[in-house]
């Protein structure tokens, strides 16, 4: 698993979860989660509140340590590395160059005290960009891409609407051209028309940039629109997984059937 490969070798998974489990004391977070994520692929993790979705996401980015199992990630040099063996400096570097993390609450993913431009530029400066003009150019071009008026570049995100904040958060994550994006309920708390626009944007960006993504959501419509494959969780375990259309159109597990049936017909 750890021998090196060509960096553009897409036959190897980008991210592998192996038997991941997490206990918070006697409280179960999630258990025995295994899957592989390939380059350009989007996996949705669905389930109700408390099913272990967010725990799984935090395990995947190394924010919390697993109680058992491991997470393997193929870095740009082609080597597949166990996250637990990375030094913290390496993990941080990956987290701000190769990964993105989109929080449900944009205020947690953004730096609310500084302007939108500084929010987008932060990752660039963190990896050594020291030319103000070029940082700003990049910030402007990313604001354009996420459909935020470039006039608003010097405004604080506090003055932004919920949908704009979420788009700004996405721009801030994508500016270093990461390969993997982890999203925790990216459309949560937004009204329906704003959700639709955001989903449109996400779908386009994921396709344009050939991003791999893990999207945690309780909204099956989001899963259907964004993801290729789907993982259904309940009580901390994966109960069903497969191609998104297959699982949603022909659910096998009673719980999945219940989830699908609980969507209001359009």
């Amino acid at each position: 698993m750890s021998e090196s490969h060509m960096s553009d070798d897409d036959d190897e998974p980008l991210l592998i979860a192996e038997g991941l489990g997490k206990w918070y004391g006697r409280q179960l977070g999630c258990r025995d989660v295994s899957f592989s994520l390939y380059a350009g692929e989007v996996i949705a993790v669905v389930g109700e509140s408390g099913s272990g979705k967010s725990t799984l996401l935090q395990l995947l980015c190394g924010e919390i340590e697993p109680s058992c199992g491991r997470v393997l990630y193929r870095t740009r040099d082609g080597a597949t590395r166990d996250l637990a063996t990375l030094a913290e400096a390496e993990r941080r570097f990956l987290a701000r160059t190769d990964w993105g993390y989109v929080h449900q609450d944009a205020a947690r993913g953004l730096r609310m005290g500084v302007s939108a431009g500084a929010n987008v530029g932060e990752r660039l400066m963190a990896v050594g960009a020291r030319h103000y003009g070029r940082i700003r150019e990049q910030a402007v071009s990313w604001l354009d891409r996420v459909e935020i008026d470039r006039e608003r570049i010097d405004d604080s995100p506090r003055t932004y609407s919920g949908g704009m904040r979420q788009r700004l958060q996405i721009a801030r994550n994508l500016v270093t051209q990461p390969r993997l994006i982890l999203m925790d309920e990216p459309t949560g708390g937004l009204d329906v028309s704003v959700q639709a626009r955001l989903l449109d944007l996400l779908r386009r960006l994921v396709a344009d940039l050939k991003l791999s993504a893990v999207v945690v959501t309780h909204d099956l419509a989001v899963a259907r629109l964004l993801s290729h494959r789907i993982v259904v969780m309940k009580g901390g375990s994966v109960i069903e997984s497969g191609l998104t259309d297959q699982v949603l159109d022909d659910p096998r597990e009673p719980y999945t059937q219940l989830l699908v049936a609980s969507i209001l017909p359009p």
């Binding site: 530029g121 932060e122 103000y132």
Partner: protein, 288 residues
């Protein structure tokens, strides 16, 4: 008070020997790791926080009976803070004091570095209110420590970016962040950025004490100190555009003094010793 000499009502320089040892250990560690903030067990001092309790403790720990002490506050030897701290050490340590920068061996300062170049036998002690340069960007102490440990300093440039975005130039004029010996980013205490270049390869030992925040850090002599900037917005010194009304200096850092309520004002050197020295050299100067 009667001039009874220096009967040791207090231990020499107020602090007890164990405390001074503890502070000296912190100072030694700080010198060994330039720019790194060393925690120390800051004591209550007989003055309020914000009046230089950190600087006073460092001075007390490095002061010897043969030292000559100078204390400045915003460059001046005769303001309340400077006078009271000088008196404090005269009373508790019986050391000689001076206002002459060249004659001093230990200089405690609030917000300025003297205009006269410092020499190897001198120690400059800064009073520091907030030692953490990342504080206003990252409120969590656990996180800022980790950022220092990993040399994760992108955030510092976010602050400078924000300055340029708002004001068109780097508008931070004091407490301007510096990188020490290519490693630690450090807050040079609220000195004006005019003084930043003086820290670079300074011959004197520079010690920083923050009493409330319980931190000591240091720049050893002849250490590289670089002010952070952008390639297209390089660091610039800032000084008011004018000359000193008393000594005529066009190089020194100036204070603006309001002289009446009709807009009258004058500029004078912030460093009083430098200004007096220049005036003594030119007896022909007109009295103001």
């Amino acid at each position: 008070m009667s001039a009874q000499g220096n009967i040791p009502v207090y231990n020499f320089a107020y602090l007890d020997e164990q405390t001074k040892r503890m502070i000296r250990r912190a100072v030694l560690k700080a010198v060994a790791i330039p720019g790194y903030q060393v925690p120390f067990a800051s004591r209550e001092m007989p003055m309020p926080y914000g009046w230089g309790t950190g600087g006073v403790q460092v001075t007390a720990a490095v002061l010897g009976p043969d030292d000559v002490l100078k204390v400045i506050d915003q460059g001046a030897d005769d303001t309340a803070n400077a006078v009271s701290i000088r008196k404090f050490f005269v009373r508790t340590a019986g050391v000689r004091t001076t206002t002459d920068t060249h004659a001093a061996t230990v200089i405690q300062t609030r917000h300025r570095i003297p205009e006269a170049p410092l020499a190897e036998h001198q120690i400059l002690v800064y009073q520091v209110p907030i030692p953490e340069p990342l504080r206003y960007l990252e409120p969590r102490e656990t996180e800022t420590r980790r950022m220092h440990a990993l040399a994760d300093y992108g955030l510092m440039h976010v602050k400078l970016y924000e300055d340029i975005a708002r004001h068109g130039h780097i508008a931070t004029t004091y407490a301007y962040p510096v990188k020490v010996e290519g490693r630690y980013v450090m807050d040079p205490s609220p000195t004006p950025k005019f003084d930043n270049p003086k820290m670079d390869h300074c011959a004197a030992l520079q010690l920083f004490g923050a009493g409330r925040e319980k931190r000591i850090y240091a720049i050893p002599p002849h250490t590289e100190v670089v002010s952070l900037d952008f390639e297209d917005h390089p660091f610039e010194r800032y000084r008011l555009d004018g000359t000193c009304a008393l000594c005529g200096s066009a190089e020194s850092f100036l204070d603006e003094v309001i002289t009446d309520d009709r807009g009258g004002r004058m500029f004078v050197c912030s460093d009083t010793d430098y200004c007096e020295g220049r005036r003594a050299e030119q007896p022909a100067a007109v009295a103001p």
